[in-house]
Symmetry: C2
Subunit: 237 residues, 2 copies
């Protein structure tokens, strides 16, 4: 015989809502973040220490930390020192990307919905950029040049993403930028196939140049129109 009879612990009330241990840990950590005003860069206690504090096993703590890591708010480093352990971060981009990619894989979201969402963000962002987004012009021009120099669809798409991310970044809104980034990363494969299908990138580049010109001239309406036509060309249907 080994182990301890634990069958009578954690009885709360007549019906006990059956909170999983790792969820309890999750909530406690979130509480601590908001209550103690923890912010990016701060360290959480070690897994063993958290386990003792919360009276759960290290496995449960690890599952909770894994969930937080998946949401992009903690990042664990091994070893020792000030940078080791679970550190609070904030990487909504990769988390959003995974979320979209996997849900697309289960075909609960259609490509049409993703493209339409992208169109919404891009119209909104380019209108902002046309009004006061001079900072993005250089980045956009560089991306266009890099696309001209690209020799493979993969390379082209890489810089295409950079071009459109420059527009999104010009809006100054990190949330829409993160969503945009996640959308592009999640459908990267699809975009490469689209370039292959078109065969020629001249039309796409002409669109890019029109967008760049319209933003340069500060013409919001023309910018929106150019972006709309561009996406209609890239994702017909």
């Amino acid at each position: 015989m080994s182990g301890v009879d634990r069958s009578q612990e954690f009885r709360r009330g007549p019906v006990g809502p059956r909170t999983r241990a790792y969820e309890e840990v999750l909530n406690r950590i979130e509480e601590r973040i908001t209550a103690d005003g923890l912010t990016v860069g701060d360290r959480l206690p070690g897994e063993r220490q958290l386990a003792e504090q919360l009276q759960v096993s290290r496995s449960s703590v690890r599952e909770a930390l894994r969930a937080l890591a998946t949401l992009g708010v903690v990042s664990s480093q091994v070893g020792r020192g000030p940078d080791a352990g679970a550190v609070l971060t904030s990487r909504p981009d990769s988390a959003l990307t995974d979320l979209l990619r996997l849900n697309l894989g289960l075909s609960t979201l259609s490509m049409r919905e993703v493209v339409d969402t992208r169109l919404m963000i891009e119209q909104w962002a380019v209108a902002h950029a046309a009004r006061d987004g001079e900072g993005a012009l250089d980045e956009m021009a560089r991306a266009i040049a890099a696309m001209d120099a690209a020799t493979t669809p993969e390379e082209f798409v890489e810089h295409d993403i950079a071009f459109h991310m420059a527009i999104a970044a010009a809006s100054g809104n990190r949330l829409t930028s993160a969503i945009m980034r996640a959308l592009r990363d999640a459908v990267r494969r699809y975009a490469i196939d689209a370039v292959l299908r078109l065969g020629d990138t001249a039309d796409l580049q002409a669109d890019h140049r029109r967008i760049h010109s319209a933003v340069t001239e500060g013409d919001a309406a023309a910018s929106v129109a150019a972006v709309t036509e561009h996406l209609a060309r890239a994702y017909p249907g």
Copy 2:
């Protein structure tokens, strides 16, 4: 002495990128989803079986499944039978909500950015609804009536969310709806405080009725204007 010396296993190439075991499991499961065309409702093998197939410990499998559950693509039920075990699902809403809430808690995203994003979606959705969203009118009217009857800020906000979700749903785009839902859920507390601060909900309800009228008449421009003014009132600054 117990255990087995494993120090020489998993050496691949000169520099081995040190893939964590649970990431390997994650990739394998994702592969299986796309390759085998698994879809919502299908079951994954049990944790013990997966562990044996992939030659890792059950803990690593569990961490991978926990990550997938956090992204809203699997859901685990205990017990036995066809519905037990890890089942593929697709709940982007709750995953998005957690993602936003936690990243907001770390103040990497400002409330301004969230509200602006919401404005973007809502303008886009209400324009769609005005064009062909008659299905949403009843739902909107019901929510307005429920807000009239609400006695607490919490209750009011609950139906306010329902009102705006009806608009989002009318767009027919599940991705934007999911983002909208996540935005509202993540800032629910903030919205309740806003209602308390305003003290009176008459102006908000007047806005809601204007939006409903504009959508009823199919006037997209008026709908967008009404939504814009509504959000400016609710979240000044």
